[in-house]
């Protein structure tokens, strides 16, 4: 009967509307599995108290990988020179201490992040007009130029031997650093938490949505009037700032910095970590950095050659069979589990 058909159509339509609205409106809510990485990080503090110096380095890499995820995973910018901003942050903190006596740690990394972010905005403004190989080469060249310039003025930067003898004030005036790196670990974790909070908000904001649009189809974005270049420069600057904070944290937790922070290898390494964990998923950065660093720490000591072989095989395997990385695999497993539970 016509009347029934109409009301049936109206009901499905209403139901569909409600479902659609609900999905989008609730997407940014924090879900309980999100607590896991943090619980694990805190658990590590109690379970492995003698590995806390290593733990701090893992957290530094997570922050670095997170910064890369913003531009690579969300905006789709392929760069092999992100170590440039990590290095800028690292050296700002070191030189601020050596030249200005700036020893307060928190303001130090904020300064490092700000400088890296400003330089990121300037560089990004120029190079983000380009794509593909041209953009890739420009990012590589920028990082390499910084490294070579640093080597040129090794009187300032300490060259590849680096700048030792850095020391920083206790955190908030209270927390002393200890030989076992306990304070550093919790410090790094706190910084990561703050950064993650901001990154998560950005990713779920309309701006973050626009970044995904740029990654998915830049022609369409142009056709609907999106100021693509401005958006890319903005996210590049933010990402550079975060990488700078990671670099500053690196200097503080190591009390040491060398020009190797600008290495092409280092840029490639953080990209491998992110791919391993899965791009565009924020938690991919956690997973990838953690797994990579732990494996490297254990395996490369055993045999660097086998480590390199392993990474090579992993990359080839990931591209051919597991394009969404470990986080994607975890998602799939979670999906299957949920379906199995529902039965």
């Amino acid at each position: 009967m016509a009347g029934n058909e109409i009301s049936a159509a109206a009901t499905t339509s209403v139901a569909a509307r409600a479902q659609a609205t609900g999905f989008l409106a609730r997407r940014h809510y924090v879900r309980w599995p999100e607590a896991l990485p943090w619980l694990i990080a805190i658990a590590c503090f109690f379970l492995f108290p003698d590995r806390m110096t290593f733990g701090s380095q893992v957290l530094v890499m997570v922050i670095f990988a997170l910064s890369l995820d913003l531009i690579l995973g969300y905006a789709g910018i392929v760069t092999l020179g992100h170590a440039a901003f990590f290095g800028i942050g690292a050296y700002v903190v070191a030189l601020a201490f050596l030249r200005l006596g700036w020893s307060e740690p928190i303001s130090g990394i904020i300064l490092g992040g700000l400088v890296a972010g400003l330089i990121g905005a300037a560089v990004g403004w120029f190079i983000l007009h380009y794509r593909g190989l041209t953009l890739l080469m420009l990012t590589i060249a920028f990082a390499a130029t910084l490294q070579e310039s640093g080597n040129l003025r090794s009187d300032i930067t300490g060259g590849y031997d680096g700048l030792p003898g850095l020391s920083f004030d206790p955190l908030l005036g209270i927390f002393q650093y200890d030989l076992y790196g306990h304070t550093n670990y919790l410090y790094a974790l706190a910084v990561l938490a703050v950064i993650f909070f901001f990154v998560r908000r950005i990713v779920y904001s309309p701006f973050g949505q626009a970044l995904t649009g740029i990654r998915e189809n830049v022609r369409r974005m142009n056709a609907i009037g999106s100021p693509v270049h401005r958006r890319l420069v903005t996210v590049y600057a933010i990402s550079a700032a975060i990488a700078g904070v990671a670099g500053g944290l690196f200097t503080q937790t190591n009390a040491y910095v060398t020009l190797t922070v600008f290495d092409f290898d280092f840029s490639a390494k953080v990209m491998v970590m992110l791919i391993l964990g899965g791009t565009g998923r924020l938690y991919g950065a956690f997973l990838g950095a953690f797994v990579y660093m732990v494996m490297e720490d254990n395996l490369s000591k055993f045999s660097p050659t086998f480590w390199q072989l392993g990474i090579g095989l992993l990359l080839v395997f990931a591209v051919l069979f597991a394009r969404r990385g470990l986080a994607g695999w975890v998602e799939d497993v979670g999906h299957d589990l949920r379906r199995w539970v529902k039965r």
């Binding site: 309309p206 649009g213 142009n222 609907i224 009037g225």
Partner: protein, 260 residues
């Protein structure tokens, strides 16, 4: 700029060449407010090229593009889109990895400048979601709202492409073969939606289907080998000897008409 006001789009002596290939020749065209114009012509006549020139995907080698009298010839695509020019592509250009609803929400977000906001969650903007659902409803796409675009059959994706253009709330709308690939059971939807649009919007449709052209158009422009052959009312165009020669020549496979 008054975004809601009706617009006039004008193209004057537009020329475009790629090296020795002269793809657009001295085209004059006006889309006055409320225009319902169809652009027809044999394959390769340069119809999509003309739309690309109007929207800024291509820059002309000579001639001007004017919006409300202002010269926009040297402006970018995004600039023109923000001034109210929307288009669909001949081959869908959608965000294939996102849901249908997100495609529309993104469009509205960029239109109203929401996407400049880095802080508030996208999902909190109920008004945007409601408006997006409204657009989907008119094209019977609500049930597909949460499906990824790449999971839809091509014909339904085409409807999403139209929804995106409409979500821009354009003042000038350029549709490039909107019904191509859409199953006939659903192609009437497109025309119904277009017919229901604000009568002040200027609309240009590129179409091959003469039924659609006759139903929709109040004016027709015939493009052959990049140049305007003739323009006029539908009845006159259909009766025009030159036009028939171009199309009949095509059908017979004889020399007449061009495969430019």
């Amino acid at each position: 700029m008054n975004a809601g006001a009706p617009a006039t789009l004008e193209v004057q002596k537009l020329n475009c060449s790629f090296g020795a290939l002269h793809v657009t020749r001295n085209v004059d065209l006006t889309l006055e407010r409320g225009a319902r114009r169809a652009l027809i012509g044999p394959n390769g006549a340069g119809k999509t090229t003309l739309v690309n020139l109007i929207t800024g995907v291509l820059l002309p080698t000579d001639g001007r593009v004017l919006l409300d009298g202002a010269d926009i010839t040297a402006t970018t695509q995004a600039f023109r889109a923000r001034r109210g020019i929307a288009r669909t592509f001949q081959i869908n250009q959608l965000f294939r990895g996102l849901t249908v609803l997100e495609n529309i929400c993104m469009t509205i977000g960029e239109r109203d400048g929401h996407c400049n906001n880095l802080w508030r969650p996208a999902g909190a903007r109920q008004a945007v979601i409601d408006e997006a659902l409204g657009h989907l409803e008119s094209l019977r796409l609500v049930d597909d709202a949460l499906k990824l675009v790449r999971e839809l059959p091509y014909g339904r994706q085409r409807l999403v492409e139209i929804a995106v253009a409409l979500a821009q709330k354009p003042r000038v709308l350029l549709l490039d073969e909107p019904a191509a690939g859409v199953p006939s059971s659903e192609s009437h939807l497109i025309l119904d939606v277009v017919a229901a649009l604000d009568p002040d919007i200027a609309i240009l449709i590129i179409e091959h289907d003469m039924d659609v052209v006759m139903r929709f158009a109040r004016e027709i422009t015939v493009l052959v080998q990049g140049a305007v052959l003739t323009q006029g009312k539908p009845a006159d165009i259909m009766a025009d000897e030159q036009v028939r020669a171009v199309y009949l020549g095509q059908a017979r496979g004889a020399g007449g008409g061009g495969h430019g």
